[in-house]
Amino acid sequence: MFGLKDDWELEVPERYFTLEDYEGGTARWCPGCGDLAVLTAVQRICRDEQLPPEKTVCVSGIGCSSRFPHYMKTYGFHGLHGRALPVACGVKSRRPDLTVWVATGDGDCCSIGAGHWVHAIRYNMDMVVMLFDNAIYGLTKNQTSPTSPQGLHTNTHPRGAWLPPLNPTAATLGFANVSFVAQTVDWNPAHLYATLVRAYEHKGLSFVRILQRCPTYTSQVFAEMQKDPSQLLLLTGGDNPELDAATARTFPNQQAHDSRDLAAARRVAEQHEPLPIGVLYRDPERPRYEDFTTVGLGMSDADKLVGLERELDKFSV
């Protein structure tokens, strides 16, 4: 299948993967950076789902968060700023056997990569897209991002960011063929983990916006929210993950949400105070682009040659 060599066999049964099998060297983010929490969550999911490291690909753009693949001991593609999604889609297009994780920043995805974002949502290929939203350009040192709060003082807007921020979940919910949109925060490991598991389980493109602390540049942006759980609104029911009772109790605000209702999801996505977290929307029935791109994947050389001769015939005189 898929042009695999005959002599290759999947050896999964003989192997058991531990967390270490996914740990690719010491992460070099700033102390307290939320990226680390996400890394840990993904490594745990890989372990819990026993994903063979060689069949797992982490794709990213450029930014602090896009260093993600370097800290995974899987295959990785740390490409160009804003271009994680086309690469990830290309990887998946003819390799449906690979598990694809995408790490992208608010600048990477929502600014320079915005066009690909619109279209990757529409392609709806089976992958988890993690938007590390720290409301700032981290790697280039403190410039305004599309999700920076209006008035935020940055190096490019020293008198405060001019415009109201873009809302990544609301925008995504307006794109055609959207199939999974969730929101979570890096500082609640249980919710983060559970949400990413849901994303992983969904067949199609799972878009997860992760509010991510950047203590170096935007410590103030999520500080309140982090201290005061009442600023979060836990979505429950529907496709939302079941949290253990202890974790669930830490959320004073909870709301049952029908994640199959697009209009409801859009309404919820507009909310800020408290900020909804959980699965906003899911539609398991949306067509996936790989259903088209994988056609013919297993074709034998003999069949290809027959096909080729047939094509040559069409031009022959």
């Binding site: 898929f2 042009g3 695999l4 060599k5 002599d7 290759w8 050896e11 690719g24 063979p52 490291p53 060689e54 069949k55 690909v57 794709v59 450029i62 693949p69 370097h70 995974m72 001991k73 295959y75 990785g76 593609f77 740390h78 490409g79 160009l80 271009r83 999604l85 086309p86 690469v87 889609c89 290309g90 990887v91 297009s93 003819r94 390799r95 056997d97 690979l98 066009g115 690909h116 619109v118 279209h119 088209f292 791109t293 056609v295 013919g296 994947l297 074709m299 050389d301 003999a302 290809k304 040659l305 096909g307 080729l308 001769e309 047939r310 094509e311 040559l312 031009f315 022959s316 005189v317």
Partner: protein, 635 residues
């Protein structure tokens, strides 16, 4: 002399069976408003000729607008067919015979220097009787103007004649014209009937029969139109041939090369490669991805290639511009990729449907930093097919992008070529998913050659992170001086190593002489034809055509040294030598010439233009003569 029916300004004449004059070649054009079927008629005419064993080059005349208004000067839609006894390699000089369905469309062609004094123009005469006064006036004025230019205009009551057989003249006239041309140029009528049956096969027997009747009627009418007939004796066909254009050849090459993914974004004149693949690719298990833009297209292809799949992207100038950054990444991270660039007129949006060879330097040097890559340029439609196969092999062997530069001239030119014998080993080997060898790094550069094996996702133990940052052989990001120097050297080294497998190019003509004409890409046919003509006149001129632009084929300096003068002929911009303010010192020269100068330090001259037209052999021949004469003056 002309039409069968008395029409305004048409002289009645009834020649008998016209005598056939033997010619070595003959160029016809059919020009009309768009939608009149001129192209179908011409293609069929070309196919009939190819089947007879003639050399053929067909090229469509495409208006700038999608559907230009009727009778508009810039709206010429049509086709040119050059038929010869020998192999025909280019569109040729000015036409011998033109069938024009109205007079206005001729203006554009005249502007493009398609005709010469003496070109016979069979012009639809109905406009002389048009109810609109301005039409009659324009028609009359055109007749005067065209004749003043020396065109041999014959008014022909085509529509009137066609009406007698056609249900709908507007739809049927093209086949009538086909028949007429078959008569005039002695094409085999039976083959024409066969070909018509083939072309309309999907439409059913009634349509076939109706069109065959039209061809027959046109054939009969042809007798009455022109006293001359032309015979272009064909050669016996010894090999199985295919008739196709360069873009179709590339599409077939993609399939034959075992490429399984083409990611593209529509752009003229590259798009038709993907049109063809979109319908045919499935037959060999491949897929076309129409991306949201060119950046995404190349990114998608690179992603697929990273994942071990053979991938290709196809574009033209503006698309190349957008792919610049990813192309640099592919070089840096050593991702195999076949990059087909069908060049068109630039800069910027430029002349989207016209030919230019203006992207050579952008391909070589366009990406910031040092980006060694293989750049090759097919010179014929046949090479369009085969070079894709080569490109894929090289991309994988050298773990780098390979660029294939063609142009609008190759893309749209149609020619019979030998049908290739495709072999299974052209196809991609199955994806290697065996465990990666322990101890081998992701870029395990052979320090001598720069070559390294490539791990592919799925290979246990090969896990690595591809990055566009400077990196070590372990694929680890590194900012230290030595790592970057080493990485750059290894990537560059591969070109030196590949270059060693190349042989010096063959000189066409004598190995020494007064003048060497150097070209690349689609100009091969015209250049060699021009050189042959000059040589037949006893001139000491030869031609050299380069297929490899990066690395260059070896031995160029030695070859050049055996000629008194070396000049490139290119379709791209160079300052005219005598122009105001232009000196020998500041003259901006053509792109290959520039490359060859820095490479050989020899005084390579250039002769180039950006007229957006294929360079005609006649024009090259004239330039050769001019230069040789100047040289004789010198010595």
């Amino acid at each position: 002399m002309t039409s069968t029916t008395p029409g305004a300004g048409a002289t009645a004449a009834r020649p008998g069976k016209a005598p056939a004059q033997r010619v070595r070649e003959h160029i016809v054009e059919i020009v009309s408003d768009s939608g009149e079927g001129a192209q179908k008629a011409g293609q069929t005419y070309g196919a009939v000729s190819a089947k007879m064993g003639n050399g053929v080059w067909t090229v469509e005349i495409i208006p700038a607008e999608i559907k230009p208004p009727a009778r508009s000067r810039a709206g010429a839609s049509g086709i040119r067919v050059r038929v010869g006894s020998e192999k025909v390699t280019n569109t040729g000089d000015q036409a011998d015979l033109v069938v024009a369905l109205n007079e206005q469309v001729l203006y554009g062609r005249i502007e493009q220097k398609a005709y010469k004094p003496g070109t016979i123009v069979l012009l639809e005469s109905k406009w002389a009787k048009d109810p609109r006064e301005e039409v009659r006036r324009d028609y009359a004025a055109a007749l005067v103007e065209f004749r003043a230019l020396g065109l041999d205009v014959r008014e022909v009551a085509l529509e009137e004649a066609c009406q007698q057989v056609a249900q709908d003249v507007r739809v049927g006239k093209n086949m009538f014209v086909l028949g007429m041309l078959c008569h005039i140029t002695c094409r085999d009528l039976d083959r024409a009937m066969e070909e018509v049956a083939f072309v309309f096969a999907k439409k059913g027997p009634a349509v076939i029969a109706r069109n065959q009747d039209l061809v027959r009627a046109g054939h009969a009418f042809g007798e009455q139109v022109l006293e001359q007939r032309y015979e272009i004796p064909p050669r016996e066909i010894t090999r199985r041939m295919m008739v196709l254009n360069g873009n179709q050849a590339i599409a077939l090459g993609v399939m034959a090369a075992g490429i399984e993914m083409v990611a593209m974004y529509p752009i003229t004149p590259a798009t038709s490669v993907s049109h063809h693949l979109a319908s045919a690719f499935r037959g060999v298990g491949g897929v076309v991805h129409q991306a949201e833009d060119e950046i995404a297209a190349i990114g998608f292809a690179i992603g697929a290639s990273y994942a071990g799949k053979t991938a290709c992207t196809v574009t033209s100038g503006p698309g190349l511009a957008l792919k610049t950054e990813f192309l640099g990444l592919a070089v840096m991270a050593e991702v195999p990729l076949v990059f087909v660039l069908v060049q068109r007129g630039g800069p910027s949006t430029g002349l989207p449907t016209k030919v230019e060879q203006g992207d050579l330097l952008a391909a070589l040097y366009g990406q910031p930093g040092d980006t060694p890559k293989i750049v090759i340029a097919p010179a014929t439609i046949e090479e369009c097919l085969h070079f894709v196969v080569t490109a894929r092999k090289l991309a994988e062997a050298f773990r780098m992008p390979v660029m294939l530069l063609t142009d609008a001239n190759l893309a749209t030119g149609v020619q019979p070529i030998p049908r290739p014998e495709v072999a299974a080993d052209w196809l991609a080997p199955p994806l290697d998913q065996s465990p990666w060898q322990q101890g081998v790094t992701a870029y395990d550069w052979d320090l001598d050659t720069g070559l390294s094996p490539r791990p592919v996702p799925g290979q246990k133990g090969g896990e690595y992170v591809l990055t566009g940052l400077a990196h070590t052989k372990n694929a680890k990001v590194a900012y230290d001086p030595d790592s970057n120097q080493t990485g750059c050297a290894m990537r560059s080294r591969k070109l030196a190593v590949f270059g060693e497998s190349l042989r010096p190019p063959q000189v066409h003509g004598d190995a020494e002489g007064d003048l060497l004409v150097v070209g690349w890409g689609s100009t091969l046919g015209s250049i060699e034809e021009a050189v042959d003509r000059a040589r037949a006149e006893g001139q000491r001129v030869s031609a050299l055509h380069l297929r490899f632009l990066s690395p260059l084929e070896p031995g160029l300096a030695e070859i050049f040294a055996r000629f008194r003068r070396v000049v490139t002929v290119e379709i791209n911009y160079s300052d005219a030598p005598g122009a105001p303010h232009v000196t020998k010192d500041n003259r901006r020269i053509a792109q290959l010439a520039q490359l060859l100068r820095t490479h050989t330090l020899m005084d390579i001259d250039c002769w180039s233009n950006v007229a957006g037209q294929p360079i005609q052999p006649g024009a090259i021949h004239a330039e050769i003569s001019r230069r040789l004469q100047a040289l004789r003056g010198e010595s």
